[in-house]
Amino acid sequence: MKVLTTPISEEDVRNLQVGDQVLISGSIYCGRDAVLPKICELIDSGEIENTDIHLRGSVIFHTAVSPAGVGPTSSNKLEIEGSFETLSKAGVKVHLGKGEIGKATIQMLDEQNAVYAVMPPVTALLGNNTMEQRLVAFPELGMEALYELKVKDYPAIIAAAHNESIY
């Protein structure tokens, strides 16, 4: 079991292999279909520099945040997988979700030294590993807004790294 603590370094990512079981701790961002394209727009326009969003070495967890808890949604949804490249170029190191992603995305992740990790949708267990949550941006999106969580030992498995994958 490898331990990943945010911010995640380039060296941390280089040492990850497909199939590695990891425990993720630190501050991670949560976003999905609705908010990730908006974050990409902020990156493309340069406006991200004027926000409280710090993507270098970060983890993006594909989940809603609500009183029901958190858990991964399908990362291969159009607006989620479509955000991987822009987010990776902006410094995101781990895209955390579930479901098969495309070969082109897997290759792009390698070029950006980023990885894709999957986790079981174990909401009841994750509740014990989630210490704090903070609404960061786009509150009008409700449960689909950008949130930051402070987490300890979120369990995941590396599903795509270095142009290899479990798929």
């Binding site: 949604t73 479901g99 079981p120 949708p121 509740g127 449960m143 369990p155 479990i166």
Partner: protein, 284 residues
């Protein structure tokens, strides 16, 4: 509307159970799968999903953060009466159950176009989430029974309802179901799945039969066709969470209705995720 409070309370409790509890036969299916699983990482996923279910049941908390859209099946015995008050009391029980669980606040605001575009945001009240249209069927038992099923979004994305040309053999229909299931379980991610299948004469009937298959299906009792589908999909080795291994599918629940004199069958196939069917029942 004057509600029947007893019905409201029973349905509220049933919804919370549906969203937080594995049925006993499902727990057994997981235990058997864990024993048989040969891939270490896939076994870890199966054990973690079962552990999650134990914690959720103990805390009466959601199994998954996508708490799902309520689907309701009512069974009415020979002398049972399903009145408007009964139906509205069931709907009120669902609203209260969603607030208690708590359900994810995902009812979309706005008019037709705004709801499609999700341009006006969501209600903060979990109870604003309407149930799908209620399905009513008769039974020989002297009972009025309600089944609550919570349908998550992932399986809905990956499900198919489509015509299949059967060529006057069962094999082309079975082959199509297996092909859909292998593709969709890999895309879904949150496997092992339980496949829910309805075969009917229209899209409405096929989807209705799929829903009833989830009510009537049992993990320990598989028909020949159900077992064949399960075995063939498991040969794909998509596995738990897509990691490979032996357990892509725990079981198949299939219901074949009356068929049209035609070369076409309408098949509905839902790859229910590792927590589904999230189901609970109560007698009113």
């Amino acid at each position: 509307m004057n509600y029947n409070q007893e019905i409201v309370d029973k349905v509220c409790d049933a919804l919370v159970r549906a969203g937080s509890t594995f049925t006993p036969d499902k727990k057994e299916a997981y235990k058997k799968a864990i024993q048989k699983e040969t891939d270490d990482k896939a076994r870890w996923v199966l054990e973690t999903v079962l552990e999650n279910a134990e914690v959720a049941e103990k805390n009466h908390s959601p199994l998954c953060d996508d708490t799902g859209i309520p689907h309701v099946v009512v069974e009415a015995g020979p002398n049972a009466a399903v009145t408007g008050t009964v139906l509205e009391s069931i709907r009120e029980g669902i609203r209260q159950g969603l607030r208690t669980l708590p359900g994810r606040p995902m009812a979309v605001k706005g008019n037709d176009a705004q709801r499609i575009a999700q341009s006006e945001g969501m209600y903060e009240d979990s109870g604003m989430l309407d149930a799908a249209p209620i399905l009513i069927r008769s039974t020989d038992e002297e009972v009025l029974r309600v089944h609550i099923l919570m349908f998550g979004g992932g399986p809905a994305i990956r499900a198919h309802t489509h015509r299949v040309f059967h060529k006057h053999k069962v094999e082309p229909v079975m082959d199509q179901i297996v092909e859909w299931a292998v593709e969709s379980t890999a895309q879904l991610g949150c496997s092992p799945c339980t496949l829910a299948i309805g075969v009917g004469r229209s899209h409405y009937e096929a989807a209705s039969l799929m829903l009833q298959a989830l009510v009537d299906g049992r993990y320990e009792k598989q028909s020949e066709m159900e077992q064949e589908i399960t075995n063939r999909v498991n040969e794909s080795h998509v596995g738990a969470l897509g990691l490979g291994g032996d357990t892509t599918v725990l079981a198949t629940f299939m219901k074949v209705g009356p068929q049209r004199a035609s070369g076409v069958r309408i098949v509905c196939m839902r790859p229910c995720c590792c927590f589904e069917p999230r189901i609970s029942s109560c007698e009113l």
